[in-house]
Amino acid sequence: MAPDPTPIPGHKAVETLVAKLRRRQIVGSRQAALETVLVLRQVVSKARFSNIQQLIVIIREAGRRLVEAQPKEHTVGNTVRRVLHNIREEYHSAVKVSAPTSSRNVYTISKFVLQGQPRKQTVGAPKSETTATLKEDDPDDPDSFARGIKPILMEAIQDVLDELETVYDNVSKTAKDHIHSDEIILTIGHSRTVEAFLKSAGHTRNYTVIVAETAPSYSGHDMARALSAAGISTFLVPDSSIYAIMSRVNKIILGAHAILANGGLVAITGSLLAATAARAHSTPVVVCAGQFKLTPLWNLYHDYGALDFADPSSVLGFEEGKLVERVDVVNPYYDYVGPELVDVFITNDGDHPPSSVYRLIKETYDDDDHEL
């Protein structure tokens, strides 16, 4: 990669994270999101800008580098977009505190033209009192604007961080409403969100979980061990029996790697099999994911190249000898599951059907940020 001519503030932290992402040293999308937020916080705190546009450019530059390091890890880009959105919100509410905000939740054509998109109704009162003195592009004191608004921005970023840290608790809030007594739930892979969801329901309900092994990562084994350690009756089955047992399963709960803008999701390989089998048996499909997984991109499934391929030796290793040189091995890591196969997304912000994911995305991110 060509070195950037203008070093962004806090670039050491950015470069460290870029290296970690490129080497896939970060495990888990939530972990990636958390580290991204911390890096962005450092960038903002060290940034020097005299109007909001400059800050946004800085953040977008940092975000672009992070996304290029690991394009398949969508939560990095989502977090950058989230931070940008929050910053813009805070800025608008801070600057417009004098003018009464008539921007209620009325979506008129004029609002669309003026503002570009419906904005979530922000809390009327600004977060801090020093906003009245904000002055952009002050020629005498270029840093005054930055000094004035940084505390507010830090709070905005802290909001994002808080939301990320409480994802599991919030997703599990409705767990006991969705899981009834004596139900049989099928899940695949090891999603930490689903694990938290099932464990929280396990406190008050007696039910059974069937975990599919999910070859070749066999992350189902970890999930089964975690659930049985929490006292939930668990069965561990190979993936080949998913259709066989589906007639006895009451609902399936999947985790997601990313939720696409059309309501589909990118999930661990095997999810498409489970969701299709569930559709064939009219079994409800539930997806548990944090809102940080909402991705404004949606045409990621048209090429083969949209898949992420993992190490083939877990499918056909070198111990097979001559076979290895004569046979092609395909080992994709993710599956795309279409929106018609999913019944509900349970996020930390409530339950949503796939048909309203586009609206969530409009509310969470800004249109300008879709392409960083």
Partner: protein, 458 residues
Amino acid sequence: MAPAPTLDVHPVNGPPAGEPSAGQKSQKQMTKAERRELQEKQRAAKAAKAAANAPNGKLGGKAAKELSALAGAPSKKTGRPSDAASKPPPPGLVKAAQAKAGQASLADQSARNQARGLLIFSHFGLPKPVSAAKGDIHPAIARLALQFSTFKITGANARCIATLTAFKTVIQDYVTPQNNTLSRHLMTYLSPQISHLVAARPMSITMGNAIRQLKLDISGSDIDLPEQDAKDVLFRKIDTYIRERIIIADQVIQETAGNKIKDGDIVLTYARSSVVEKVLLEAHASGREFSVIVVDSRPMLEGKRLLAVLSEAGIQCTYLLLPALGSVISEVSVVLVGAHSIHTNGAVYSRAGTALVAMMAKRHSVPVVVCCETYKFSENIQLDSFTKNELAPLGDLFSSFPNNKPREYLTLENQPHLEILNPLYDLTPPSCITAVVTEVGVIPPNAISSIPVALGRL
């Protein structure tokens, strides 16, 4: 008060399981109510033991004792003079026991729940280890049973041929006892051998059909023939069965199904079917250009053997595990699978995972062709995969886990609250199947019930 009992009945905590003699000896002299009381005490002791052994029985032995004390209380209600017979718990202990009854019953409840949770699939039955041969089991049968139970011989066709060959040896060594005829006695001689095989591994439909045919031949054998001649007739019939219903049937299927493969096709197959292997080799030998995708899955990971055979023959192959199916299915031209058995309603009972492959293919409008000989036909109808299934033994019997996955990250044994199930078969509904290729023709799944009619004409 009723007359005192004439014998000593054991105290509340019940006779432990290992003392049946004293109780049994006196059971004849006990009246019915006393026997009932004894039963209740024994049941209470067992429940107490179960509660004490429950993993979340934090209350431990105290709850167990109180549980048995509580169970002792109902015996008082029978009105029998259990005061003399059993030491009645003092009233204080009864109150404390009742206060803790909630907790004790909760421990009992969770133990029961755990037991119930794992009972859901209990009718599957785990494979039992082959016991030492009782009675006179022919060594050929003993060896075959061992090969079955260790999965050295797998596959419906292979097992059937192996069974019939072993039976030929058994029949050869058989001697008709005095005052008996071969046609009547041979079958009773063979029955324990068959049971031994079934104990090793549940019988396949093919074995069942073949043995039924054998029984028919035996009972129809001529009484007047000398023994060796009768045996020779039987051998000829067995050989004819194998040749006509399996070998020649496979050849017909090879040709018919091979015609379904065109140049440039991508054929997908699942696990390892002996018939599909022959079809692909034959099609390749006759000069067609196609490539094969072999999909494989645990627990048996049989596809690797097929892969070795096909790539040895020079066919271009791709190998992947079942979860990756969604990524390649849109490029497949035809799906060829084998069957363990086929039912009257057109459903196909085959290796676990076949149903998933067929379902995905159907969704992407890829034709699913099942290659199946007619002797695999079964009259009964199964509605789902649970009616009749087999569980593979636990552990890494087939070395199906990748070498680069360290064993401590895998769960290979049952643990508290965790049970491992490895069903070996599943049922593909007829709606997912496009056609069944048999030696009597290419049949759509809803016409499978006409196979016996077609066979009757042969």
